[in-house]
Amino acid sequence: MLLKIKKVLDMALESLIMISVAVLTLDVLWQVFTRFVLKNPCTWSEELAVFMIIWVALLGSAVALGRGSHLGVDYFISKLPEKLRIKSEILVFLLIAIFALTVFVIGGTNLVISIVHLGQVSPSLGIQVGYVYLAVPISGFFMTLYSVIAMTERWSVKDIQNTQRKDAI
């Protein structure tokens, strides 16, 4: 059941990220094209790119949490006996869930409300900036969800699949 939810969630968020990264690339290339070839630089491309990267980065952070791709220092924990390690992992996800809930969901919602209240509109696309920041509470919700799933997994199942390759840049 839980695995099923996670699978559907992963699929949805992952496709969204793939499409966004593709659009993002085309958007900036369009900007270069309009300046060099059309000699009439596009006015909205930069704004769109920044708005999209906020969404990609925040939703991607939730996906990365689900995959265990965030960079951490696992040296000391790996020295612990199996049982204690799983317990400490549950604690870690609990802390992350609390952080996601308070800062991303509650703080983020307040942020969106206050910016929408100010009525700040982006100069070239004319989008309410507050709506762009909706990415914060939404990704916070998914982060909390992924943490809860990870906690339940560790609570019930004895062996956990290993984390994937971590990529530093």
Partner: protein, 433 residues
């Protein structure tokens, strides 16, 4: 040290020991520090700091350089660079090790990440070197250390992160150009060590190519290497911003990898896009929460306090740089490069500037230092990736990699105490204010 700062660091280290991802360590400890100030929990302010941290067009170069790096990694570009390098340095004793190092440097000159170099070049060179009788652990050491030169030779994603961490005091173009000489110097230092070993172990010489063959192989590599002129040249000539240059790099490496070399199939692209998105998110969340953390550190005057304390006790530049180097070497062992840059740049920047060290020079020192950290256990992304690819273990590699550490440290010390190596090129191109 004020009470909130003590809480900030204590909670940060505790969380780090627990293996809380570094991005969340910074966020949670920021919240703890705000509690310690006796303020209301400023959840909204922290959320705001995180979003404004990633709300930047300049940062967009990071996902694009990641994507172009992935395309180059899978797109058969490394192999063409290997062929060209082989024609140039393959003939000497221990030639394949030299080829490996030179290829890493060339790959670094068109891609911004070290992990792409380890898997693209190591995946091909290590088995080849094993077959030719080179020691497997030696091969792993060569690949892993040489791959980090790509972080000094532009384009480089960690340099974009550094430029951001200085608050724009150092432009991306300036730090890019500053990296060329230190990167090449590190590469030469690694070549010297590998040659000494090759002579000692009597490793073979590679084949000698005729002049015509050499030219043919070099021409094959012109396609990939043209990217240096398009991306870096484009930035220097003012054609592109670094972000636009990185998007053009994506287009160019896509064209090479998909229709020209036909090594990447179109249906593989979505997976690469996803990997780009996730890797980017990891970096961006780090940037966001580090902005929140450095906001707390700044509001508690931590950088100023540290610089005052240091000026009181350390009175010369040489000693200060030695202390910072030693500290960052230890940090680099335990922490990945991006979080280390984001955490320590705002702390040390005011200090080094008081001592008359240029932020550009400091950036190069910091990156060279943390490059060594990428190759050291317990946390060394390149080392672990390299060991995985070579199918060996970290403990077996350790004995062989030590001389390469020595080479990297030697290059680091030279660049630390000869600022001109970092400053001369950007000054010539008038990129330094």
């Amino acid at each position: 040290m004020t009470w909130p700062i003590i809480v900030l660091f204590a909670s940060f280290f505790l969380l780090l020991l627990l293996n809380v991802p570094v991005a969340f360590c910074m966020g949670i400890s920021t919240i703890c520090a705000i509690f310690a100030m006796g303020d209301l929990p400023a959840f909204t302010a922290v959320a705001h700091k995180i979003t404004t941290g990633i709300d930047s067009f300049a940062l967009l170069a990071i996902p694009f350089f990641i994507l172009s790096g992935l395309l180059m990694e899978k797109g058969g570009i490394a192999r063409r660079l290997i062929d060209a390098a082989n024609a140039l340095v393959g003939r000497f004793r221990g030639g394949l090790a030299l080829v490996n190092i030179l290829t890493c440097m060339l790959f670094g000159a068109i891609s911004g990440s070290a992990t792409a170099a380890v898997s693209a070049i190591g995946g091909f060179m290590v088995p080849l070197m094993n077959k030719k009788g080179y020691n497997c652990e030696f091969n792993t050491s060569v690949t892993v250390t040489a791959a980090t030169t790509g972080l000094l030779i532009p384009p480089s994603n960690v340099m974009i992160v550094y430029s951001l961490a200085t608050g724009g005091m150092v432009s991306i173009a300036a730090i890019f150009i500053a990296g060329y000489i230190p990167g090449i110097l590190t590469g030469i230092a690694l070549m010297v060590v590998s040659t000494i070993f090759s002579i000692k172990k009597n490793y073979g010489k590679g084949e000698i190519f005729s002049f015509k063959q050499t030219i043919v192989r070099l021409l094959e590599a012109v396609g990939p290497l043209l990217l240096i002129f398009i991306a870096i040249g484009g930035i220097l000539l003012g054609w592109f911003t670094p972000t636009e240059a990185s998007a053009v790099a994506v287009l160019y490496s896509f064209i090479l990898a998909v229709p020209v070399y036909r090594e990447v199939k179109l249906k593989e692209i979505p997976r690469l896009l996803l990997q780009t998105g996730v890797t980017t998110s990891v970096v961006f969340l780090l940037i966001g929460t580090s902005m929140a953390m450095s906001w707390i550190m700044a509001s508690e005057n931590l950088p100023q306090n540290i610089s005052e304390a240091l000026i009181g006790t350390v009175n010369n530049k040489i000693l200060l740089l030695l202390i910072i180097n030693a500290l960052m070497l230890v940090v680099g062992c335990f922490m990945d490069m991006t979080p280390a840059i984001l955490i320590f740049t705002p702390i040390f920047l005011p200090v080094i500037m008081k001592f008359g060290i240029h932020p550009l020079h400091f950036g190069i020192i910091l990156i060279m230092n943390l490059c060594i950290g990428l190759c050291t256990p317990p946390v060394g992304t390149c080392l672990f990736l390299g060991c995985g690819i070579a199918q060996t273990t970290v403990s077996k590699v350790m004995r062989h990699i030590l001389p390469f550490y020595a080479a990297m440290i030697a290059a680091l010390l030279i660049c630390t105490y000869v600022p001109g190596l970092s400053m001369w090129l950007p000054e010539q191109l008038q990129l330094v204010k």
